[in-house]
């Protein structure tokens, strides 16, 4: 076994017993990046010197003993939409290709305060808009289980970094499934926390009423550690909620006895890949064997989620992305005449085609005469979708569904038709509209040896229960232990 194979909790244990140094661990991870990243393309920036310096600092803390921060000496990767002071943050876009943030995002600060070592910035779809990383302005990432396939998106680089063991864990963002889909496609654990659980200050905004930051990890325990480090109120994000953060480690081993698991019939539909349906049903059976009680539920407005999402998300995106005007930072088109042309050409050259599509649709649905028919209508449907979940949670404690209707698709398979690509998120988007926490856990493999993910959806601020359920499942199943053939 190599050092990069360790989980956070295993490495922390060895670090604290002084049987391993943070520098050894970090060197192992950096070496792993060197030998595998030409194949999977997880990283946009690797910061070797800074990482080794941070590891040296961590080793000094470890040597002095005393109380140590939660993630002391743990090498992690950060999605490139999350700002890192002094370290290039591109959001996967040409328009920010040379942007060096003058400040850290709150989640970055919290990782640093927790003693984590940031080894680099990982790839994503441009401005987190996409389901495959093929919209990255730089290059697509590849699925470590099959290099001809996508890792899922938008946080694809976060998922490939953890799956290919080029970091012990990673941060990503999830607006419509961007943590859970790549987690599922790459066979790792990924959590989208409740809207308001984690600060978005310093995170490049896509759709502000939906965006949330969350962890990618090798198992539920590591996922709990990462969430512990980043969760909690932040006065600099007015949407972050001021409620106490539970001790996720302490409750992890409580098990699922008596837990009512809701199975929504709308999430098992025609056209699904049979292996996915079988694996998720088997996962439900496993939960039942562990003492949970499956109950049939209904989420009747599920089929309207994608339509509502593509109105709300594009509207918010068109507004959020107005800031990229080529004046104070980012790309500016050369040799233009006057202000208007500078704006138009800067944005034409700086944005990729998917970003332009979403800005255009968002502009349309917000424009005079269409606002009520589209934006207001979508917000009302959002209410119905949220009510579906709240009603369902009267009869169950957790909801189990597939993360996606299929396993990872091939590069280029869905790029010609944006709507087909959007439908990859059919099982994840409603969770964002309702603001709920959603966890993706590995639950099997298909006939092509590609990972399958099950999604556990919780009540608002119910991350604890999701992690408990995932932990109990992992004790009984081997799926999270399998490694891609790299």
């Amino acid at each position: 076994m190599a050092l990069y194979n360790l989980t956070i909790h295993e490495a922390s244990d060895l670090l604290r017993k002084r049987q391993l140094s943070a520098q050894e661990l970090t060197r192992s991870v950096l070496e792993r990046i060197r030998t595998t990243d030409a194949q999977v393309h997880s990283y946009l920036t690797v910061c070797e010197t800074e990482a080794l310096q941070q590891a040296e600092t961590a080793d000094r803390s470890l040597a002095t003993g005393g109380p140590l921060p939660l993630l002391c000496g743990i090498p992690v990767a950060v999605k490139d939409v999350i700002l890192t002071k002094g370290l290039r943050s591109t959001a996967g876009s040409q328009i920010l290709a040379h942007f060096v943030p003058p400040y850290d995002a709150t989640v970055t600060c919290r990782l640093r305060e927790a003693g984590a070592i940031i080894v680099g910035k990982v790839n994503c779809d441009e401005f987190a808009m996409g389901s495959s990383t093929e919209n990255s302005a730089f290059l697509p990432s590849r699925n470590p289980w099959d290099l001809s396939r996508v890792p899922g998106g938008s946080s694809g680089g976060s998922a490939t970094a953890v799956a290919a063991e080029q970091a012990l864990a990673a941060l990503g963002t999830d607006t419509g499934g961007s943590i859970r889909l790549p987690s599922s496609f790459c066979g790792v654990v990924g959590l989208k926390p409740t809207y308001g659980r984690v600060s978005r200050f310093g995170v490049v905004a896509y759709a502000s009423s939906l965006d949330q930051v969350g962890p990618f990890a090798k198992d539920a325990q590591d996922c709990a550690l990462m969430l512990q480090a980043i969760a909690g109120h932040d006065p600099r994000d007015s949407t972050s909620v001021n409620t106490s953060v539970p001790d996720y480690q302490a409750s992890l081993t409580q098990g699922v006895r008596g837990l009512r698991i809701g199975i929504p019939k709308e999430y098992f539909v025609e056209g699904m890949q049979p292996a996915v349906e079988v694996a998720v049903q088997q996962a439900v059976a496993e939960f039942a064997a562990l003492g949970a009680r499956p109950v049939p539920i209904s989420l009747p407005h599920t089929e309207y989620a994608i339509a509502a999402y593509y109105i709300i998300a594009t509207a918010e995106a068109s507004s959020n992305l107005a800031r990229y005007d080529g004046m104070k930072y980012g790309y500016r088109a050369p040799q233009t005449e006057g202000l208007g042309e500078t704006y138009r050409r800067t944005r034409a050259q700086g944005f990729g085609s998917e970003v332009k599509r979403r800005i255009m649709l968002g502009t349309y649905v917000l424009s005079a005469g269409y606002y009520e028919a589209y934006y207001l209508k979508a917000q009302k449907v959002r209410t119905l979708i949220r009510q579906d979940f709240l009603k369902a949670f009267e009869a169950c404690d957790v909801i189990a569904t597939p993360v996606a209707p299929t396993t990872a698709f091939r590069l280029g398979e869905k790029t010609a038709d944006p709507l087909t690509m959007y439908l990859s998120d059919i099982f994840t988007i409603a969770v964002n509209l309702a603001g709920l926490p959603g966890l993706s856990i590995p639950c099997g493999f298909d006939e092509n040896h590609l990972p399958i993910g099950a999604q556990l959806i919780g009540r608002p601020f119910g991350e604890e229960v999701l992690l408990q359920a995932a932990y109990a499942y992992e004790q009984a199943t081997p799926w999270h232990l399998r490694k891609p053939p790299l």
């Binding site: 339509a307 202000l339 085609s353 424009s367 119905l384 949220r386 709507l419």
Partner: protein, 95 residues
């Protein structure tokens, strides 16, 4: 088609995007697909349903208007597409 070339051009102007004729054609097709897909929302009766802007309602927090950060002029200007001394250099705004 549900949207005309002129409408696409008007949206592009509002969004400050210069589009090629090919991009306009692609967008007309994309809008056509998306608007017909989105139309399924009209199957739902939403009379009397309150709109949801944020899933978790948080009252707007108020605080004293105090400076808590220090301006790092050099770090900010390093990202400027063009600068002169300690200023952002921008195109002429008034013709």
């Amino acid at each position: 088609m549900r949207i005309s070339r002129e409408e696409v051009q008007r949206m592009a102007l509002l969004a400050r995007l210069e589009l090629t004729a090919t991009e306009e054609t692609e967008l007309i097709e994309h809008f056509d697909k998306m608007l017909s897909y989105i139309e399924k929302l009209n199957q739902l009766d939403t009379d009397g349903v309150e709109p949801t802007a944020h899933a978790v309602a948080v009252p707007s927090p108020l605080r004293e208007d105090q400076v808590t950060n220090q301006a790092d002029t050099e770090a900010l200007l390093q990202n400027a597409p063009a600068r002169e001394a300690d200023f952002f250099k921008v195109p002429k705004i008034i013709e």
